[in-house]
């Protein structure tokens, strides 16, 4: 519906700076904007976090309740991840159920958490075959200045890290801290011509919404990949992006654990 002229006018500037191997905000090609992490900001939730990457802001809240397990995994808890790209966060977001972008974002964040086994689902079993913990990861965008993906993934893992399972509320024993086994970190890059820019800002994305997200775990295994956008990616560039993403994820993981 709405396009944003304030972003569109930057396109030529981004491209001309790129030709001189520079970014419009002076960052290095593999540099993230300033990252701010505020854990536990929604006390009523079981866990929560606000993450700012530059001017992009996302809140993630964790809610838990007992429920029935899936029939094929009777002793495992269930994680459900949802993203709301609410119209508050951008002039281009419309009210309504999640669109393909919101769904993609939620599913990629979910895969990173699931395949890194950050949460051991067998620890969320209450009564095998009958009752398990259902864990909701709800991503709520507040301000889209580019790269909601990494901000959401980061907020999600930080929120999980301060989650307390509300057993007492449901008379299922004592509350306990959700055990977290890994810290998946996603790194998203904008692909332009034969270059890639890590953590693209909204102005940089004016040249095209062509990104690739790589999520890694603490052992540098790759636990999620998502190429997003109608563009063709060369193998060599892809390999470079993987190397850089692993490196950047390590740095961000240090921020989280400190």
């Amino acid at each position: 519906m709405h396009s944003d002229i304030l972003v569109d006018i930057k396109k030529d500037y981004v491209l001309s700076k790129l030709r001189d191997n520079e970014r419009i905000d002076g960052r290095a090609f593999d540099e993230f904007r300033k990252i701010e992490i505020y854990p536990n900001i929604i006390q009523k939730a079981e866990g929560s976090a606000l993450v700012k990457i530059g001017d992009t802001q996302v809140v993630v809240g964790i809610k838990m309740q007992p429920g029935e397990p899936f029939p094929d995994t009777p002793d495992k808890g269930i994680i459900i991840t949802n993203a709301e790209l609410v119209p508050l966060a951008s002039p281009t977001f419309e009210p309504g159920p999640p669109d393909e972008n919101a769904i993609e974002l939620a599913r990629v964040v979910d895969r990173g958490i699931r395949h890194s086994e950050a949460v051991d689902l067998s620890e969320l079993c209450i009564e095998e075959g009958k009752k398990v913990w259902i864990l909701f990861i709800d991503i709520h965008a507040l301000d889209d200045d580019g790269n909601l993906m990494d901000a959401s993934a980061l907020a999600a893992i930080v929120a999980l890290m301060n989650t307390v399972v509300p057993a007492e509320r449901f008379e299922l024993g004592n509350d306990f801290k959700l055990p977290i086994k890994d810290i998946p970190i996603s790194v998203t890059s904008l692909v332009v011509e034969d270059k890639f820019l890590v953590d693209p800002s909204r102005d940089e994305l004016s040249v095209g919404d062509n990104t690739i997200t790589i999520t890694t775990d603490k052992n540098d295994n790759i636990v999620a990949i998502q190429k997003s956008g109608s563009y063709l990616l060369s193998e060599e560039l892809f390999e470079e992006i993987v190397e850089t993403s692993i490196k950047k994820a390590k740095e961000i993981r240090k921020l989280v654990t400190s």
Binding site: K63, E84, P87, L88, D143, D145
Partner: protein, 248 residues
């Protein structure tokens, strides 16, 4: 429902407040980059963010009003904002709140200046604890000022509840849930004076005299909130002035 607890103990409320005392309030204007105007507000344990976009083009065309701007207000609760996770998306309660809030704002925005356009107000409740609709309207009011939208004045909103036969200002969840009546108000305030009622609802039962008392109580609360709303805006716009004076 469990046995109703006593809500007034030794003349004090459950959280220790006086009957005419507001919960702690924190207001910050201009907190979002993409929105034209914005505000983060806490009222007790309520945490809300409001954003204003507009006036801007309104699509589809048939929704346009040829003589004035259309106002749209969307009150939305994040799934993690309440104790039992709320499914995302508008429910009947959110739709009703959005309607009456929109109408309060429509009454004070000078819409004739922007025919055929829309002024969109979005408020997200990140954490809720009774009175979230009043917190949202207070935040929306600040966001509208921050966006430069022309208005007759400022809207300040607060609820009054009747608990254990006593009228109290700005109820918390327990008072709202177990009380005999919940009355949210919003007033148009101009030049430091309360001019008129912009929003009014009641859920429960009260007498005519109690209603009069409730209005008095609400006005007191609204004036205090108005002062804080002004401070928040001044803080954002004065801060630039100060930075420069200090730099010299």
């Amino acid at each position: 429902m469990l046995q109703k607890p006593k809500l007034i103990i030794d003349g004090k409320r459950l959280d220790g407040r006086e009957f005419d005392e507001l919960r702690p309030i924190k207001i910050e204007a201009g907190v979002l980059k993409r929105a034209d105007g914005s505000c983060y507000l806490e009222m007790g344990r309520n945490k809300v963010v409001a954003a204003v976009y507009g006036p801007r083009e309104l699509h589809p065309r048939h929704l346009q009003d040829p003589s004035k701007a259309v106002i749209r207000y969307r009150y939305n609760m994040a799934p993690f904002s309440v104790e039992e996770r709320k499914r995302p998306g508008p429910d009947r309660r959110s739709i009703e709140i959005s309607k009456v809030s929109k109408e309060a704002i429509e009454a004070i925005v000078i819409k004739e200046l922007f025919p055929r356009s829309t002024i969109d107000i979005f408020v997200e409740v990140l954490q809720a604890d009774a009175g979230s609709r009043t917190a949202c309207l207070n935040a929306a009011s600040v966001a509208l000022v921050d966006a430069g939208v022309p208005m007759r004045g400022i809207i300040s909103s607060v609820a009054v509840a009747k608990v254990d036969g006593v009228l109290v200002l700005d109820p918390i969840k327990e008072e709202d849930y177990y009380g005999e009546a919940d009355i949210p108000f919003a007033f148009l305030i101009r030049n430091g004076k309360i001019e008129s009622i912009a929003l009014l609802q009641m859920d429960g039962r009260i007498t005519k005299e109690e209603l009069k008392e409730a209005i008095k109580l609400a006005k007191k609360g609204a004036m205090e909130i108005y002062k804080l709303q002004r401070e928040a805006i001044m803080k954002k716009y004065e801060i630039e002035k100060e930075d420069i004076e200090n730099a010299q």
